[in-house]
Amino acid sequence: MQNEILLEMKNIRKEFPGVVAVNDVSMDIRKGEVHIIIGENGAGKSTLVKMMAGLYKIDGGVMLLEGQEYKPANVLDAQRQGVNIIHQELSMMQNRTVAQNVFVGREPVMGPLRMVDNKKMNRQCRELLEGLGIDIKPTTMVKDLSIAQQQMVEVAKAISTENKLLIMDEPTSSLTQKEIDNLFRITRQLKSQGTSIIYISHRMQELMEIGDRITVMRDGCYVGTRDADDIEMSELITMMVGRTIENVYNRTYNEPGKEMLRTEKLTGLRFRNVDIHVCQGEIVGFAGLVGAGRTELVKAIFGFDQAEGGKVFLEGKEINLSNHSCNRAIQKGMAMISENRKTEGLFINMSIKDNIVQACMFDKFPNGIVKNDVIKETAEQGVKELKVATTSIEKKVFNLSGGNQQKVVIAKWLATNSKLFIFDEPTRGIDVGAKSEIYGIMNDLAKNGAAVIMISSDLLELLGLADRVYVMKDGEISGEVSHEENVFTQEYILSLGIEGGKAVEHKSPSAAESGPKDCQKGGNHAAG
């Protein structure tokens, strides 16, 4: 049974405007195995599984499910044929109960009037959740659950149908240890029932724990498949990155300069009592689970969200938080590359030119009258500087690949006089070539004296680039690690993010006291 093939993929190809996301991938999934797919951000893992789940149509190649040609028209069709996916992003109905969410679209009905049988639905849901060891009442509203609990409800929902193949796309990125253990138990249980599972993850040690086979992808291509039992971690990393880590992250560390940003007990909707500081010439990373409050923190610093308490100092001067806005933040020298490139970073239906000049108009045209030649010049300079691959600055940005789109966003901010750059997941959905260019830009910014904040869920990236890494858990800073400490490792940072560092505290001196990397206490500490 272990070696029977469930799903076979032959020469699968998928293109998006300007980029080949999945290129000529052939692989197979066996019955009753846990198959792990790994790769860096933008390697094409998610695109590949989304094609299996019917979310994307394939542009080339064939898929065979149990020997029959498999061509799902949509998610529903895929589900009918026994392929189900648990998404990376939650899509739950917030104002409905857990049971209503689990059984949406297939509510049990009774009687000649086909009334919805709420009792039966709640009972079935309770049985399902109990069977999975999830301690949630079926009648609870989903909005009252934590993000991790919602993720588990999603898992329950996916499992409640008959599946031949269950795809989990980074299911653990928002889970705490307790839920991760539970998820692994469920995974093993499903496996013993003969369900095949595809599991996408960034976290290496998870793979070893539950995987049977591991497939590595890089730049949209298939690199290789190995049995989990006989592969070394170092070999996997080499397969993933395709070269040694050092030469991707070409980081030149500088002596940190004056303090650029400092927060004191900063509190907002999803974070509280955050004390951080960032100096000129530094790249400061933020690690943590999805939903730990990292994005909300930087959005409050940038003025996009309202902070509720605490203080923020920029170059030693306090920012008036009650009167803070993106506009003021930009005038004071901040720049933010948002994690949602398409909804917050770009005007997707506008030209490259219009996108690049959007943030520098106030500087360049103080009297309010626009000069077209200045705009053109600025845009052309930005395109040249960042090597955006395009034939014209008039091209609409939705025609560009993810990497080039991100470069347009960065070009927008380089056209302003910013001194503090906030990068939120800057390499998500970007091919490796563009990625190393973006790393290069970040390094150059730091070298030239700008302060850089970088949020990333890719720990390798943080380890390769950051001077220091703050780890957040449940909205609070749970630790700080400098690149000069010997605990600057994936395992330690992960443990801080998941457990709050309790399990491993004895290994490290209290991170907050790590003296060597504090900024030079320069003259402009006036407000402090």
């Binding site: 998610v75 529903l76 589900q79 899509s91 739950m92 109905m93 917030q94 104002n95 409905r96 209503q100 969410n101 949406v104 679209g105 297939r106 509510e107 009905v109 009037l113 086909r114 009334m115 919805v116 709420n118 009648t139 909005k143 009252d144 659950l145 934590s146 993000i147 929902k157 909707l269 999803r270 509280r272 409050g293 449940d474 909205g475």
Partner: protein, 331 residues
């Protein structure tokens, strides 16, 4: 029992503010509490409630149908022109009259539903356009004239009494019961909520979102058409702008009843109260002797006010919910 509690929770604090207004009416509006006036309020509520059912479904699905007034006017006039052909209409003719009105509503609803549900055109714009088409068509079919003086048998559907209560109220009761059943007890009802709460989730869970939306607009259209004919029977006149403003009363009734523009939240149970409140307010303003003009100003201001209150309270609740997810309340 749990569900009843949930539904009660969904009735917002707005109701308390409204109660104050009603108290003012009780003390200052002459004859507000008289038996005859209460019957009057009830029969005014009846028609508003019927069309509010459609509006509630539309708003639950995170959209809106403002074609209601136009559809009502056109359907009412269509039915009126039919029934006036009879000196002494029998029951079949009366049923046919209502069927014509409902059918006209159905056509409009189908048109809205297909364009909005299937082809995803902007719902504001499409229902706004059909509203205009409805009013325009009502002008066209009778040259802009008002029809009045209908056979007694037809008027009796709305304008007589059964057990001391106007028949129009009984008619509305039957329809509301059916609609309550549909929205709370059927799969389709569940799907209205699902589509309004998260369209993405609904479609990924196998709900036919297009079909659901088309059905919502069809039902809303049918209810408006039926309500239009009922309005003719009740007022004994049918004019091209007879139902002008009903869409906004229906929106107000829905929002007062706790269904919010956020979609997927609230329900018909609240709308019943909302419609009653709306009728009381209109009635109270009349009794307090405000001219039609002032009533219009107050009504506009009032609708704006409740919508603003709804939006602001929703924003607060959302923040509180976010915080709850992060368990900050415990700290």
């Amino acid at each position: 029992m749990q569900q009843v509690k949930e539904k009660l929770k969904n009735i917002p604090g707005l109701i308390w503010g409204v109660l104050v207004i009603i108290l003012v009416f009780i003390f200052f509006a002459k004859g507000f509490t008289k038996y005859q006036n209460i019957l009057n309020i009830l029969s005014n509520t009846a028609i508003l409630l019927i069309i509010s059912c459609g509006m509630t479904m539309a708003i639950l699905s995170k959209e809106i149908d403002i074609s209601i007034g136009g559809v009502m006017s056109f359907a009412g006039l269509g039915g009126a022109l039919f029934i006036t052909r009879f000196e002494n209409p029998g029951i079949p003719a009366i049923i046919l009259t209502f069927a014509i009105g409902t059918g006209i509503g159905l056509c409009f609803g189908l048109f809205n539903g297909v364009l909005i549900g299937k082809y995803k055109y902007n719902y504001w714009l499409i229902t706004f356009a059909t509203m205009s088409i409805g009013y325009g068509a009502a002008q066209v079919i009778n040259g802009g004239n008002v029809v009045s003086g209908f056979p007694k048998a037809f008027r009796n559907v709305a304008d007589s009494k059964f057990l001391g209560i106007p028949t129009v109220v009984w008619v509305a009761l039957v329809i509301v019961m059916i609609m309550l059943f549909i929205t709370y007890k059927t799969r389709f009802g569940m799907h209205i909520y699902a589509v309004g709460d998260s369209e993405q989730c609904a479609s990924q869970s196998g709900i036919n979102v297009k079909k659901t939306r088309i059905l919502i607009y069809m039902l809303a259209g049918m209810l408006s058409g039926f309500g239009g004919v009922l309005l003719v029977a009740k007022t004994n006149s049918a004019g091209p702008v007879a139902a002008s403003g009903y869409e906004w009363n229906a929106i107000a009734a829905t929002i007062i009843g706790g269904t919010s523009f956020e979609g997927g939240k609230g329900g018909l149970a609240g709308t019943i109260i909302g419609a009653l409140v709306m009728s009381m307010i209109i009635n109270g303003l009349q009794l307090m002797g405000f001219s039609n003009y002032w009533q219009q100003v107050y009504k506009g201001a009032f609708i704006l006010l409740i919508i603003v209150v709804d939006v602001i309270s929703r924003r607060k609740k959302k923040k509180a919910a976010l915080r709850r997810v992060y368990k900050y309340d415990e700290c």
